[in-house]
Subunit: 373 residues, 2 copies
């Protein structure tokens, strides 16, 4: 393993945790938001731009890279870091979520998941061993166990049998794992049933993974239910290991789930919203395609230190988005990721000061409130 | 005017010229290739990236900016420089070429061109005065007279009446021009008829424009015909003014037309080719979508100093292009523009040494020859 998580401080009034790790001589702090580089690139951005917006770990998708360009191409390139020119940590998911959300039809068996390649129609089989083997070859720093991402809502019976299979898959993956430089995380499923989440968290803990992910909380449920599912899982996870909430990135969700003990998050939202012309601000999301920004010669946010806010106006970025120019999506991606990394910096500061609940209340007042720019 | 062209040296064996101008305290040299920023952005690139690949002047399109976001928005922003965050020179075209190539149907009258707005179907009229007025508002450093870009082939009769009208339009535009910071160029048309090109060049010269463009040479003719048309025009233009060949950017065409006395060029080719996965190399254009590059872990070119060649492999860029990731088009745009600015540096060096013809012959041997990487 190239790094180890260190728990530095627990917040007084919540389950929030401040942590850190050293990677290639550089210290990174958690809670942290991880931008998503689905196809070995964070859409529209260069590695240098990602560093400029304080990105730490980035995420790449096993499923996508397996299908294209293929894990062997990346292995022959010397691994994902070298392939994509990224020298900070990389986390790969297991492919489980993509099989769940993209592959149709699919057939889930004890062996793994049978489905069709979305690119060429070939029949494929993703198994726990195969997922680990691909991730080993990609040579990411953190790999995920293969799991079934359960949809919501789901019956207790389905959640129980699926979660037990996810546990058997986690065990098979751990046995297949064969990359000493790579951490391996187990994934807590269990739907919205506390006893199943608990069972899964405890069983995974016994297997002693390098960290723990929480899955199946961002697939259709409302926010209170999501927060509840997260609480059911973190409660039963060891304190000294990093906890990763998968696929969650709405600003309020970052705050609420840090409060429930989460350390790292990933989400495509900042880059996807950017491509549609949306920007995060202190006063909520704005849609730059709105005509009122046509002659707005102010920056997206006057409290943001990003490249887009330093050099460009809402009017110009609006023009780029409306005209379909990718430089617009790039400027908004820079801004949106910086917004989230900035939010995480504020969250960490609030944990340090034991004022996270006040921070949340003030955040809500501005982000959802009547106050205007 | 913010700068004046200075002719520094003529090559001994050809009509090639070395020139320079000072803009905002920085010296720029010609012959020069100008990247195209159609909609106030050079597709996929930031101003910083353009500077890194040694871009000098960039071009923006009057027609596109008139339709979207509208010249008034840009004027209210403080002009095109401020709007798009570009502090080097900007040249705007007249809109004539876009009306010629994009607007259908159109009706050309003495007053101007009537056509439909491609974005919303509105009826529009572009006149010499309107073109100049828009360019005045955009506040580019170099504006173009409104002209009719004659298709090829065209009858002598059509070319004659069209070219005479283009001259009348040039005069009307010059009278309407009202921006002391902006140079105004006349455009030499005349099809492939030496006497018409000559008449046009001489009449424009009498009107004493700040520089001269040559139009209608890149609309379907073969290379020898293009070179001939250019020679017909440069022969009759004053030596002390800059000459701009519009819309030409194929590497061999840059060399051949410098030989015929051209100083500046623009073309969408480097960025358009980039979006289709093509890259210039010393050994000709390569198409990275070709399967043979799948595991090619060398840079696009090992004699190129651009960001793409320093940090990325053909394999990775191929993956990005095939996967539809815009970072691939961005890397190839960086490389292709740098290839052309590098070529212009070599051309200028050859003019300095009076070895441009040898340079051309060697270029052809590698670019079109049997030699391989």
């Amino acid at each position: 393993m190239k790094f180890t998580y260190k728990l530095e401080k627990k917040e007084k009034h919540t389950e929030a945790r401040l942590g850190s790790f050293i990677y290639n001589g550089v210290k990174y702090e958690t809670p942290m938001f991880m931008p998503v580089g689905t196809q070995a690139t964070v859409k529209t951005l260069s590695p240098e731009e990602l560093k400029e917006v304080h990105a730490g770990i980035i995420l790449a998708n096993t499923y996508h890279l397996w299908l294209r360009p293929g894990e062997d191409v990346i292995a022959h390139a010397g691994g994902l870091h070298k392939f994509m020119n990224w020298d900070q940590p990389i986390l790969t998911d297991s492919g489980g979520f993509q099989v769940f959300s993209l592959a149709n039809p699919k057939d889930i068996t004890e062996e793994g998941v049978h489905f069709k390649n979305q690119l060429n129609g070939d029949k494929l089989l993703l198994t726990p061993e195969k997922s680990i083997e691909i991730q080993n070859k990609l040579d990411s720093d953190i790999a995920m166990s293969f799991d079934e991402c359960i949809g919501y809502p789901a019956t207790y019976e389905y959640c129980e049998q699926s979660t037990k299979r996810t546990l058997r898959w986690a065990k098979r993956g751990k046995e297949a794992h064969n990359n000493p430089n790579q951490m391996l995380f187990g994934i807590v499923q269990g739907g919205n049933y506390e006893d199943l989440r608990r069972m899964c968290a405890e069983e995974l803990s016994k297997m002693d993974f390098d960290g723990y992910s929480i899955g199946g909380t961002s697939v259709g449920e409302d926010k209170p239910t999501m927060y509840q599912m997260v609480g059911y899982a973190t409660k039963y996870l060891p304190e000294d290991k990093i906890r990763y909430l998968m696929g969650v990135g709405d600003p309020i969700d970052l705050i609420e789930n840090v409060i429930r003990g989460i350390d790292i998050f990933d989400c495509v939202a900042p880059t996807r919203l950017a491509r549609h012309g949306h920007a995060y601000t202190k006063y909520g999301k704005i849609n730059l395609k709105n005509a009122k920004y046509k002659e707005d010669f102010t920056p997206i946010s006057d409290v943001c230190d990003c490249y887009a806010c330093k050099h460009y106006t809402r009017s110009y970025i609006r023009h780029l988005i409306v005209a379909g120019e990718t430089f617009g999506a790039r400027l908004l991606s820079i801004h949106n990721i910086r917004y989230l990394t900035h939010l995480m910096e504020d969250i960490r500061e609030s944990i340090r000061n034991d004022t996270l609940l006040e921070f949340r209340d003030e955040f809500i007042e501005y982000y959802y409130g009547e106050k205007h720019e």
